[in-house]
């Protein structure tokens, strides 16, 4: 079914603010840690006292260069800072120190997959700046309360080109950005806690048109899901306006997650006038070729590097490699596991199968998993040696090992009396007895109903209290039935 919306396409550019996980702030030595008691991580600089001077955090530059390199950006040699002036209670200086005309990184890109297709979104710039404090409006009936712990925490702002064409693409873009900052270890990427925030610039146009219509900036979306929903809502809203022949105006709106709608935020007569000018208190930062080379040499492996390594060095399927590298900690767990076993595919299967289900069922992260990679490697070795099988190991042993992470898998097998038997004589006796019990089924099997083998194997397993080696049982039964 086609609707009027089909005539239009949505044009989206995203601005992502990511808090850098440095110990101290961008321009002074206050702690940048999250969650401290209000106004306990402040100094004369972050409080905006007259006569104080900012000084740039070396680590913040390094982190910003890292993401620049990871996104294929051009790294600027001579960097200046600028003052962006605006009046707000949680910005005590009256200006934010940011980069205006000289962003550190330009012309990079982010690549990701959406609906099976590779998509590349260009980056206009990534620049360095500082966060503002936090205002609380609902704690006190008469006043707004201001906490300046966050004032001055280092941020990078990642500004995309208007290359995004749907809510789904925006979602995947953000997933990729979050993965990137996590692999680079420069930001924890947690949108719910505000360490990664996103504003979206959204406009629509008739398909085939090349110009851009006035855009709506939607602010304050605290999850990737909300960004996607806000884009989808805005698309419909703007299409409706345009179909009614109304003029679209450039404006700022906020996303109301409870109602699933965007609402006007700022009145237009108060349009911002930031009066940018160069920050004279901070001398330029020169990023040399040698410095960039040193940062490049120390870059950690990113998900795309690990995917290449898993598929070539370890021969894992691309699907496994992609799913595992979606989460950095899962990939690191596999990295450890791959050094402890030679059965690489089994290692991947354990992570994607039993471990993933266990974590999902208990709403846990892999970092909270009590079972260490060595234990999983031991389990794989026991299965490969025929001392247990995958079903027993994943269904019976794994829960035991989660509860008693220091016990060895072999000890668990012995304690539960599950050690698989490769005693041929015992299995053969059981097999002969089972076949004697079902003469009709034996005839049917020999007449061509090969599927009956499963029944015989099941009976032998039952007779052995689950301890018979299923592979060996299979082999012995097949031989006996062949006569």
């Amino acid at each position: 079914m086609s609707s009027v919306s089909d005539k239009y396409e949505v044009i989206v550019g995203l601005e992502v603010h990511a808090q850098l996980s440095t110990l101290s702030k961008m321009y002074c030595g206050d702690s940048a840690a999250f969650g401290a008691a209000p106004n306990t991580q402040v100094s004369p600089v972050s409080l905006g006292h007259p006569g104080t001077l900012p000084r740039v955090n070396r680590k913040a530059i390094e982190y910003a260069v890292k993401i620049g390199l990871a996104t294929g950006s051009t790294i600027r040699r001579e960097n200046q800072f600028a003052r962006k002036n605006y009046f707000y209670a949680d910005l005590p200086k009256g200006y934010q120190i940011t980069q205006d005309k000289t962003p550190l990184c330009e012309n990079g890109f982010i690549e990701f997959e959406v609906a099976g297709e590779r998509k590349r979104v260009g980056l206009e710039r990534i620049h360095m700046e500082e966060d503002a404090g936090k205002s609380t409006h609902d704690l006190d009936p008469y006043y707004t309360l201001v906490d300046l712990n966050r004032a001055g925490v280092p941020l990078i702002e990642i500004v995309s080109r208007p290359d995004i064409r749907s809510g789904d693409e925006a979602y995947q873009y953000l997933t990729e950005v979050r993965k990137l900052v996590r692999y680079l270890d420069i930001c924890d990427g947690n949108m719910e806690e505000g360490s990664m925030r996103c504003d979206a610039n959204i406009s629509i146009r008739l398909k085939g048109d090349t110009g851009l219509n006035p855009r709506v900036e939607v602010k304050n979306m605290n999850s990737m899901r909300n960004v996607k929903k806000a884009i989808e809502y805005e698309f419909e809203r703007q299409v409706e306006l345009m179909e009614r022949g109304e003029r679209l105006a450039q404006e700022t709106r906020g996303y109301d997650a409870l109602k699933g709608v965007t609402l006007p935020q700022r009145s237009k007569e108060l349009a911002h006038d930031y009066r940018y000018f160069p920050e004279p208190d901070l001398p330029p930062v020169i990023v040399t070729e040698e410095y960039v080379d040193a940062v490049r040499a120390a870059m950690p492996k990113l998900s795309r590097d690990l995917i290449a390594e898993y598929t070539t060095t370890y021969g894992l399927p691309e699907y496994d490699a992609r799913v595992i590298t979606d989460d950095k900690d899962t990939a690191f767990y596999l990295n450890d596991l791959l050094t402890l076993t030679k059965n690489y595919k089994a290692a991947s299967n354990w992570l994607l199968g039993p471990i993933k289900s266990y974590l999902n069922e208990n709403a846990l992260e892999i970092s909270e998993l009590t079972v260490k990679p060595q234990t999983i490697a031991d389990l794989i070795a026991l299965i490969d040696a025929g001392k247990t099988n995958f079903a027993v190991a994943s269904q019976r042993m794994l829960p035991e090992l989660v509860a008693n992470p220091t016990e060895s898998p072999l000890a668990v097998l012995e304690r539960l009396n599950l050690l698989q038997s490769s005693d041929e004589g015992m299995i053969k006796d059981l097999a002969v007895a089972v076949l004697a019990k079902y003469p009709d089924k034996v005839k049917a099997y020999q007449a061509g109903q090969k599927g009956l083998l499963g029944l015989f194997v099941g009976e032998v397993m039952k007779g052995s209290a689950g301890k018979a080696d299923p592979k060996l049982t299979n082999k012995i039964l097949t031989e006996l039935l062949a006569g």
Partner: protein, 96 residues
């Protein structure tokens, strides 16, 4: 450049200042003098002259990522016109 009421109002709004009409007249006069002086600078030929931003030639004045120089909350709140034991208190910014 001629300073008019609209410009004074705009600047007052940006700097969150409030004054009555007689003060406004005085400010208009003062601003006009400041702008006239600045206009003189426009007579200078600065073709090929790079803007001067920094008073020294130093670059890369960076600091290590270390926590230091913090003050206590009591000290931080000391100069605030209004505060409680934890927060700075300011007029409500958002109207419910």
């Amino acid at each position: 450049m001629k300073i008019d009421n609209a410009l004074v109002d705009r600047l007052a709004e940006l700097s969150r200042l409030e004054f009555d009409d007689s003060a406004k007249e005085q400010i208009k006069g003062d601003l006009q003098k400041i702008f006239d002086m600045m206009d003189k600078l426009n007579d200078l030929n600065v073709d090929g002259v790079e803007p001067l931003i920094y008073m020294s030639d130093e670059v890369n004045v960076l600091r290590a990522d270390e926590v230091k120089g913090q003050v206590t909350r009591e000290e931080a709140l000391l100069n605030a016109p209004q505060h409680d034991s934890d927060f700075f208190k300011v007029p409500k910014v958002i109207k419910k």
